[in-house]
Amino acid sequence: MEFIFLVIAVFTVVTALLAVLTKDRTVSILAAGASGLFGSILFIIMAAPDVAMTEAAIGSGLTTFIFFFALKKIRSRDNG
């Protein structure tokens, strides 16, 4: 169990680094969402199921949605 925890923790940090170092905005937003999902797996292994549900629904789902909606608003003013 601790080995699995270590692997998932490494994935969380690696996707966070990917979100910060990449040049493309879309990849950055998606990598932040993926980091939130790996974080929710960490919360489950730490015996916190309520927090894991909330992080998966809000931190990974709704945050990515609002980032893309705001990006779309910016791009539509850009082209029009």
Binding site: P49, M53, F69, A70
Partner: protein
């Protein structure tokens, strides 16, 4: 060059403080006193198997009231700022056939699942915040499939305000009727342990919080997406 040095200085400073914190960290072996009281006396006093729910709703109910207020303020400011810059938006392309059929099938199921999650918040992991977020995701799916549909903003606004007001009224009723404090949950009878209608006022309060959070997050997300042309003309 100065900027880079300054950045490294800030990161280094924060890193050294946190490093000392990490090095002194030892895992705990027993619960602290307050949490031990909540875990041992919570289910017997309040009748809810989920200890986190009883902490959020009853033992630390005032923090939940503050959080509901902050969410309301953030949603109000987002609505205000987006409304000031309301430009006319061109007609959007509809979703494909697959997306429309899939969302028509999934939308009632997701709403049902979200309602189940916040109704059973005191028995299984879950509760008002999680159920509200699931309901907001269902609304986002429906607006992705047919972007030209009007969403009743007034209906969402009325639902949200009613839920907020009834949460405060229930809390004051606990303070006035039983003389045991704000958001006391023994106004309703405790019932049998582990059934749906147990734990006094906790399912009612969590359902109200679930409706409030769901309608609030929906209006924030849909407001960021923008309105269609027919709404701007009327």
């Amino acid at each position: 060059m100065v900027k880079k040095g300054f950045t490294l200085l800030m990161l280094g400073g924060l890193g050294s403080i946190l490093l000392k914190f990490v090095l002194d960290f030892k895992e705990k072996l027993a619960l602290p006193e307050v949490s031990a009281h909540y875990v041992q006396n919570g289910p017997a006093e309040l009748g809810a198997p989920n200890v986190v729910t009883s902490v959020v709703v009853t033992y630390r109910g005032l923090d939940t009231l503050g959080e509901v207020t902050i969410l309301f303020a953030a949603a109000a400011v987002v609505g205000l700022l987006l409304h000031l810059n309301q430009n006319k938006v061109e007609n959007r392309t509809e979703g494909s056939e697959l997306l429309k059929t899939g969302s028509a099938l999934l939308f009632p199921l997701i709403i049902l699942f979200g309602t189940y999650v916040f109704l059973n918040g005191h028995l299984t992991p879950g509760g008002g915040f999680q159920g509200g977020a699931i309901i907001a995701s269902a609304l986002v799916l429906s607006i992705l499939a047919s972007p030209n549909r009007k969403i009743g903003h007034t209906a969402l606004g009325i639902l949200e305000s009613l839920s907020g007001v009834s949460y405060v009224i229930l809390g004051l009723a606990g303070a006035l009727l039983t003389a045991n404090g704000f958001l006391n949950n023994r106004i309703l009878p405790l019932g049998e342990y582990g059934t749906l209608f147990s734990a006094g006022l906790i399912p009612v309060i969590y359902s109200i919080i679930g409706l409030k959070v769901g309608s609030e997050l929906s209006s924030v997300v849909i407001g960021l997406k923008g309105e269609s042309d027919e709404e701007a003309h009327q």
